[in-house]
């Protein structure tokens, strides 16, 4: 009897919990100072705080100084305020906190992971890192050494080669013809050695209240977060300078470019123009991508055709990749030399089939269920929560969109997907970049990529 009552109680508690917790609560806050904050209050001992400095990424690197943003980001953790590198690291470790600063192509992102009980002490350190990093000659040399070493280490790495080659191909810089877009500029020994302390100090002007997003998830109240953010960003410049970057026009014609390297498995990247997050067809494109090559594990058309049926690849997948100035529908695959071009052929075939015929009703329903149903799984830890919320904000969403995503997905109809497939998927524009030594295949024309494209 007792066990039964306990069980019933448990079920009730769980259901009640479900009703209350199915939606993530997100508060939209603007502090008196003007900092825009999203707060997702949640239980648990871990607090995640993510700050996106929009536009302060590698795109701000001056000509001839590629790598500046990345070096700057690393230097900020080499001592701040009264603490040198070891002292700062030691202090953070003592607090069980993790602070990272990373420069991507477009943005610079600060991530703070701390236990609730150590949050205040951690944030005081973060303030020092943000406003008083010790940008000294010794730390510049140390960070430069590391980046030079990383570069040398990666030079012959096929994955690195692929990434570089694919990006350069995307911006139209193949065989060293055409202008070099900011996205295709990579650090070299020369550019890293050209960096000075003045260059580092110049980075601060790309940060400002008007381009900052702060996202917090943890056991905090609104007044606590406001106070924390006020303290952390007091004195922050109201306006950030912006670096101008052109939009990328992806190649109008598809191709298969090969960068020769003697490795048993050819690494393949492919892309065509994508659908931007702000486009009205975006959610339909997301659903379409789920069927095409994204979505649930091993359930996409590409996974079935290329991996399960063909056995050509262990990994194959697609996604919508959006940078501030480039939107791609992109994918990756890895296939041995003998079968790499068969994989390419199959990918093209699937692309054409879906462009012409859309997807089946069954596929659509399954992926809708998956995308909508798995959405809450991204909200189970503070870190996951801020990662996703920061991403939604970069897409220009509001707090209401956070919980509206499943509904937006479930509204997508087969006809809508069919139209988007017809309008957006273009197998003739699909560009393949391969690092490896793929065996030739009749029907596929391949062009060699000069290794100097990586210089």
């Amino acid at each position: 009897m007792k066990a039964l009552v306990f069980r019933v109680l448990c079920i009730f508690l769980v259901s009640g919990h479900l009703q209350v917790q199915a939606a993530l609560e997100v508060q939209d806050i603007v502090t008196p100072q003007g900092v825009k904050v999203w707060l997702a209050p949640c239980s648990g001992p871990v607090v995640s705080l993510r700050v996106v400095f929009r536009g302060a990424g590698a795109c701000c690197d001056p000509e001839g100084k590629a790598g500046r943003a990345c070096v700057f980001a690393d230097m900020c953790l080499e001592g701040a305020g009264d603490l040198d590198s070891a002292q700062l690291a030691g202090r953070l470790e003592d607090l069980s906190s993790r602070v990272s600063l990373e420069a991507g192509r477009d943005h610079m992102v600060l991530h703070v992971l701390a236990l609730r009980r150590h949050l205040d002490a951690t944030c005081r350190l973060v303030r020092e890192i943000l406003f008083r990093p010790r940008l000294q000659a010794a730390s510049l040399e140390k960070v430069r050494r590391k980046h030079l070493a990383d570069l040398a280490f990666l030079q012959g790495d096929p994955g690195w080669m692929l990434q570089k080659a694919a990006l350069r191909s995307a911006v139209g810089y193949t065989n060293k013809k055409g202008p070099l877009h900011a996205y295709a500029r990579f650090p070299t020994e020369q550019t890293l050695n050209a960096l000075t302390l003045d260059d580092m100090k110049d980075v601060f002007r790309f940060r400002g209240l008007d381009t900052m997003d702060v996202t917090v998830a943890g056991n905090l109240t609104r007044p606590e977060v406001v106070r924390l953010v006020q303290d952390m960003f007091a004195g922050m410049a109201p306006h950030a300078d912006k670096a101008f970057t052109e939009d990328v026009a992806l190649p109008v014609e598809g191709s298969v470019l090969v960068l020769d390297k003697d490795i048993p498995q050819s690494m393949i990247a492919f892309f065509q123009p994508g659908v931007a997050a702000r486009h009205p067809d975006y959610h339909a494109a997301v659903v379409l991508d789920g069927v095409l090559g994204g979505g649930a594990i091993l359930s996409s058309r590409l996974a079935r055709e290329v991996r399960e049926k063909g056995g050509y690849a262990y990994s194959v997948g697609t996604s919508l990749l959006e940078d501030a100035h480039m939107v791609r529908w992109a994918g990756r695959a890895g296939s041995s030399g003998e079968t790499a071009l068969k994989a390419v052929q199959t990918i093209r075939k699937v692309w054409s089939q879906i462009a012409e015929n859309g997807v089946t009703v069954q596929e659509l329903e399954a992926i809708r269920d998956y995308l909508a149903g798995s959405w809450p799984l991204g909200f189970t830890t503070s870190e996951d929560i801020t990662e996703r919320l920061a991403w939604l904000r970069l897409q220009g969403r509001s707090v209401d969109d956070v919980n509206a995503y499943p509904a937006a997905i479930r509204k997508i109809t087969p006809d809508h997907v069919r139209r988007v497939a017809r309008e957006s998927l273009d197998p003739r524009r699909l560009c393949f970049v391969i690092v490896g030594r793929p065996a030739p295949l009749q029907g596929i024309t391949v062009q060699a990529m000069s290794p100097s494209v990586l210089d």
């Binding site: 003592d94 990383d150 490795i263 056995g311 995308l371 991204g378 189970t380 996951d384």
Partner: protein, 524 residues
């Protein structure tokens, strides 16, 4: 390849959590729509074997040791799991975490690559794991994966030396369906020739991706086969390329029938559930399954290495700088009592090589400016522990110079052992990090699963904070001896092809040699 992970240039790996949104960590920080994307590297069914040292963590007890820490003041609780055993011998463990209405459901089989029959093709445990996704009678073909999609569930699996695990994450209302599906494929897998043929090709591609394409991984694979000369940990989990070509339905069925039994399985569930709820459902879906008695694991014992160290050198065109890795074997944890050694070793590793305040980092990166990164990793397998040290040089520094510098720091441990202050600080850090494990459903499940799959009890797991709390300076000094010992380790050097870097150490070594031979000449 600690380097690749920390490379600020964000190299070609895709490190993404497919559930959450993005944020950088895509190549060069691109914005990645991971609500749709499956990371190429993460879309794994099988071996999570990193290219180089420090990443093996997740799938070993290291998950436990690496992140181990203290629970609360004076308390000894870690994850507070609750367990029971079903009639047919299947173990059940539940970790309550009521933060979200989500559940992480997993089934762990106490079989890994080290349990394979070495007279048969290797990598069967991993291959069997792949085949588990190819369908049963009740759920043929894509049915299992379709069902996962419909539930909005994330799922995957992995194989390691000691265990094979199948795990899903879904809304708690789907727990029963997850159990039904997992219970179905526990005993009813269908293995046919076509599927074996195709999946063999897939696994061959996986091997190419992880090993044949990456010289650093090949070196790591070789290093393990030297570290364990006899014990089956010497085999790569995925098997050798020749093995992968020899799989047949008969081999798979034989393996499956032997090892995939309820009495050989552990159910670990974490999330918005209670033991009673899970037990009720488990009895309904798993408890009714017939079981053979649990399999006995018989493995060759690794004999002492007779104080012979091994040095491996591999030349590669995949890098322009050398890379250095060192490996040590450590005793296994077999009980609460032997946990003490593991705790002490964890402290030593933290002091010596983990993080920017470690001795190796301060000496090699800061002081002597020889290295750009230092990574140290310690994890326990069922029959042994392994410590891996990875050091990457800055330009112009040879592997020999690095090795010499590493030996100086390690040798110094004997003269200047871990101090009371270092011990206190590291202890507090290890304990403080425990909350991160408890906060994550996945980490909780993996920590529990790895422990039990290594044939340890929950009491051992739960006594970890206490073990850390009790480590003494004497324990640490004892544990340090393993690292100080230069005669029982494997050194693996990755050399860039074409040209050695000018380097002081080599020059002075040559000078010493010249002087020594001059003296000899004189004496003669």
């Amino acid at each position: 390849m600690a380097k690749l992970q920390h490379c600020p240039l964000d190299s070609g790996g895709w490190f993404m959590n497919p559930r959450s949104g993005i944020m950088t960590k895509g190549p060069c920080g691109e914005m990645v729509n991971t609500a749709d994307l499956k990371s190429v590297d993460r879309e794994v069914m099988g071996v999570q074997v990193p290219p180089r040292a420090p990443l093996r963590t997740m799938f070993f007890l290291a998950g436990l040791l690496f992140l181990a820490g203290w629970a609360r003041a004076g308390g000894a609780a870690f994850l507070e799991p609750q367990g029971c055993t079903l009639k047919n011998g299947m173990q059940v463990v539940v970790i309550g975490n009521h933060r979200s209405p989500v559940v992480c459901h997993s089934v762990w089989y106490k079989v890994g690559s080290a349990d394979e029959d070495p007279s048969r093709p290797l990598g069967l445990a991993h291959f069997c794991e792949h085949m588990m996704f190819r369908g049963t009678k009740a759920n043929p073909g894509q049915a299992f994966k379709d069902a996962m999609q419909r539930m909005g569930a994330e799922h995957n699996a992995f194989t390691s030396h000691d265990c094979t695990a199948y795990h899903q994450m879904a809304g708690v209302e789907h727990l029963e369906t997850l159990m039904a599906l997992e219970a179905d494929r526990m005993l009813n897998l269908q293995v046919n020739l076509d599927d074996v043929a195709t999946e063999s090709k897939v696994v061959a591609e996986e091997r190419r991706m992880r090993y044949e394409n990456r010289h650093a991984s090949q070196l790591d694979e070789k290093a393990w086969s030297c570290l364990f000369a006899h014990h089956p940990y010497r085999f790569p989990v995925i098997g050798w390329a020749e093995d992968i070509r020899q799989y047949t339905p008969g081999l798979v069925r034989m393996f499956y029938k032997k090892w995939y039994q309820p009495a050989n399985a552990i159910l670990v569930v974490a999330g918005d559930v209670t033991l009673d709820q899970v037990r009720t459902l488990a009895e309904k879906h798993y408890g009714c399954l017939p079981s053979a008695p649990p399999c006995r694991r018989k493995r060759l014992v690794e004999p002492p290495s007779h104080a012979a160290s091994v040095r491996l050198v591999k030349t590669t065109d995949q890098t322009r700088l050398p890379d250095l890795a060192l490996y040590w074997r450590t005793p296994a944890v077999t009980s609460k009592e032997t946990l003490k050694t593991a705790a002490a070793l964890q402290v030593v590793c933290r002091v010596v090589g983990q993080g920017r305040t470690s001795r190796l980092y301060r000496a090699l990166v800061e002081q002597h400016k020889l290295a750009s990164t230092v990574g140290m990793n310690y994890h326990e397998l069922r029959d042994a522990g392994v410590v891996e040290l990875s050091v990457s040089p800055v330009a112009g520094v040879s592997a020999e110079a690095l090795e010499k510098a590493v030996d100086e720091v390690l040798g110094d441990l004997a003269r200047n052992p871990v101090t009371a202050a270092e011990l206190a600080s590291v202890r507090a850090r290890l304990l403080g990090e425990l909350d991160y494990v408890r906060d994550s459903l996945e980490k909780s499940v993996i920590t529990v699963g790895l422990t039990l799959a290594a044939d340890l009890g929950l009491d051992v797991l739960e006594s970890w904070p206490e073990a850390i709390g009790r480590v003494s300076l004497a324990d640490v000094a004892e544990a340090s001896r393993i690292l100080v010992n230069r005669t029982e380790r494997v050194v693996a050097v990755l050399e860039p092809a074409g040209g050695d870097a000018p380097d002081q150490a080599i020059k002075s070594a040559r000078k010493d040699q010249k002087q020594a031979s001059k003296k000899k000449g004189k004496a003669a």
